[in-house]
């Protein structure tokens, strides 16, 4: 049985460690500190933690003011509330003056599960990517989460980090070196490339392994940094493998697929397929939702087979 771990817990524990190391780090939450796991930081540093109550717009404003005064604020709630509910605050108070605010959001995507469509952030990356100058990170497991949060703390500028609710398979081990802005190549492959991020990296690997049994050799890239995008790895994938499938637990517009396609059409047009959401979700168990909405290893495998048909014609 493969090992799983919680990305949120990795965030909470990493934030606490970073808080011990960097006195300028402060944290904010909007009444969800036990879900986002900022409560670890809050209990050790009560004077550097600001629970804003159910008022996300104000939380972002506070974070902006704290950053403008030299602090390194980490603000957290559910991904459905930020950037969604406070997009204007992120745009005017944070992105336009390029302030050093870190937005770490949990409970992203349809795997929020039973809470249903209102709580399933499936457009947050489109919004985050439209905030000019934001670094946008989508870690694939708990170890990458810890690295991503550390990179955010030690790199000046606004960050959006997207974390899912369920525990996810560990893809990396403690020796993993996270490179900000660089795709991680997990499988070498020559016939097609699967580019995935977040929770979808594990099924992407599973699909690649199954395809291999049929003699289809896929490259797999973990695109944990969505902005700034690693265009070179995408170009290399297009040149070396001639076909690309993107996989994301997000709407097919404005997230990973659109971003990769933009690079591909500009540099080396090759056939592409997009495994992504096309509608709002509903209540259900995460695994049931992934199955119903087409985000499984089987769907990825199918997408690779279709893209290869177009490659060969």
């Amino acid at each position: 049985m493969a090992k799983t771990a919680s990305l949120r817990e990795a965030y909470g524990r990493t934030l606490l460690e970073l808080g011990r190391k960097y006195p300028d780090i402060v944290a904010l939450d909007a009444d969800l500190s036990h879900s986002t796991m900022t409560h670890f930081f809050a209990s050790e540093f009560p004077d550097r933690f600001f629970n804003c109550g159910v008022a996300e717009q104000n939380m972002i404003g506070l974070a902006a003011g704290l950053a403008a005064s030299g602090k390194i604020p980490f603000a957290s709630t559910f991904a459905v509330f930020a950037p969604g509910r406070c997009f204007d605050q992120l745009r005017v108070s944070v992105a336009q003056p390029h302030l050093n605010v870190k937005i770490v959001m949990t409970h992203s995507g349809i795997t929020v599960g039973e809470d249903g469509m209102s709580h399933q952030a499936i457009e947050d990356l489109a919004l985050a990517c439209s905030l000019v100058g934001f670094t946008v990170l989508v870690p694939s497991d708990a170890i990458e989460t810890a690295r991503a949060v550390t990179a955010a703390a030690t790199t000046t500028g606004p960050f959006y980090i997207r974390l899912c609710r369920p525990e996810s398979l560990l893809i990396h081990d403690e020796s993993y070196k996270f490179l900000l802005g660089r795709a991680e190549q997990l499988r070498h492959g020559t016939q097609a490339t699967i580019i995935a991020m977040g929770l979808m990296v594990a099924p992407a690997l599973e699909a690649a392994d199954r395809l291999k049994l049929d003699g289809i050799d896929c490259r797999v890239l973990n695109m944990a940094t969505l902005r700034p995008l690693d265009a070179q790895s995408i170009v290399n994938a297009a040149v070396d493998t001639g076909a690309i499938v993107t996989v994301e637990e997000h709407l097919e517009h404005g997230g990973l697929g659109s971003s990769v396609a933009q690079v591909v059409v500009r540099t080396r047009p090759v056939p592409m397929e997009f495994v992504a959401l096309k509608s709002y979700g509903e209540s259900g168990k995460p695994a049931e939702l992934l199955e119903k909405y087409g985000l499984t290893a089987k769907n990825i495998e199918h997408a690779v087979r279709s893209v290869l048909l177009r490659k060969n014609t």
Binding site: R48, A63, A64, G65, A68, K71, D88
Partner: protein
């Protein structure tokens, strides 16, 4: 900068600032004179009498901060900053022009501008953040923010009001420029704010009402606020939109419209 300007000196500075405001807006043929003119005494009092700041070192970490929440009233802030020496007065005439540091709505990067604004309702939250940072860092600075009265229709203002009282930030003073007018007319007709002082009191603020054009009263109000502990202070400053230019006073047409050349000449004559 610890300037102790006398009242006549402040009045003379205010006159110059009003002349700058109408001239820069006329020259740009765009901008917001009405709410800039109503706030002249408030902003002048802060920069020339109350705040501890240093135009030669705008990034000084112990400086008092002024957060202009109603970012469209950039002309009053730019004029005051220029008169303080943050940048040359001549630069005011680049306002709203291509390649200028003086953006239509305030944007960080111009020396002395503490916040990028323009979308109403965000400044009070930002100011609370600055005040909390001062507390965490045990710094002595104070934070001032200026809101429009129409701006107080934004829900975020009340989220921030709740938070400021909850966190007991007593190094924060909010001033509301209560000129009673917003783009579509009188605030009482567009969206009634009253009982306005009671709302601030109910949110836990030390609430002061005063005449926003009287330097003596403004100085008293700001000095009094420094003695208030464990709660934020709001000064509701009764003002006249377009103050100082007869045809702009209480005239909502000049909320966001510049004077033409003939009107500018009348304004400058009145402000001579």
């Amino acid at each position: 900068m610890s300037t102790e300007k006398s009242i006549p000196e402040l009045q003379e500075i205010a006159r110059k600032i009003r002349r700058n405001i109408v001239t820069m807006v006329a020259k740009a043929a765009s901008g917001h004179p009405g709410g800039s003119l109503s706030a002249v005494e408030i902003v002048t009092t802060l920069y020339f009498r109350i705040m501890n700041h240093n135009p030669a070192n705008p990034e000084w970490s112990d400086r008092d901060r002024f957060i202009l929440s109603k970012g469209h009233c950039s002309p009053v802030l730019y004029s005051v900053l220029a008169e303080c020496g943050y940048f040359p007065v001549e630069e005011l005439m680049t306002f709203r022009r291509i390649n200028s540091r003086l953006q239509g709505h305030t944007h960080m990067g111009l020396p002395g501008v503490e916040m990028s604004a323009g979308s109403l309702g965000q400044g009070l939250s930002f100011a609370v953040g600055c005040a909390l940072a001062g507390r965490v860092d045990k710094k002595p600075y104070r934070v001032y923010t200026l809101l429009g009265d129409g701006e107080c229709e934004e829900g975020q203002v009340w989220e921030a009001a709740m938070a400021a009282a909850h966190f007991k930030v007593d190094n924060l003073v909010a001033v509301v420029d209560r000129n009673g007018l917003q783009i579509d007319g009188w605030t009482k007709d567009v969206m009634n704010l009253e009982p306005f002082p009671d709302k601030w009191r109910a949110y836990g603020w030390h609430t002061v009402e005063t005449d926003g054009h009287d330097f003596n009263l403004l100085i008293d109000a700001f000095e009094h606020a420094q003695a208030v502990k464990r709660q934020p202070t709001v000064i509701i400053a009764r003002t006249v939109k377009g103050k100082g230019v007869s045809y702009m006073e209480h005239n909502v047409d000049f909320h966001g419209k510049p004077p033409n050349q003939a009107q500018l000449e009348i304004a400058l004559k009145e402000l001579a």
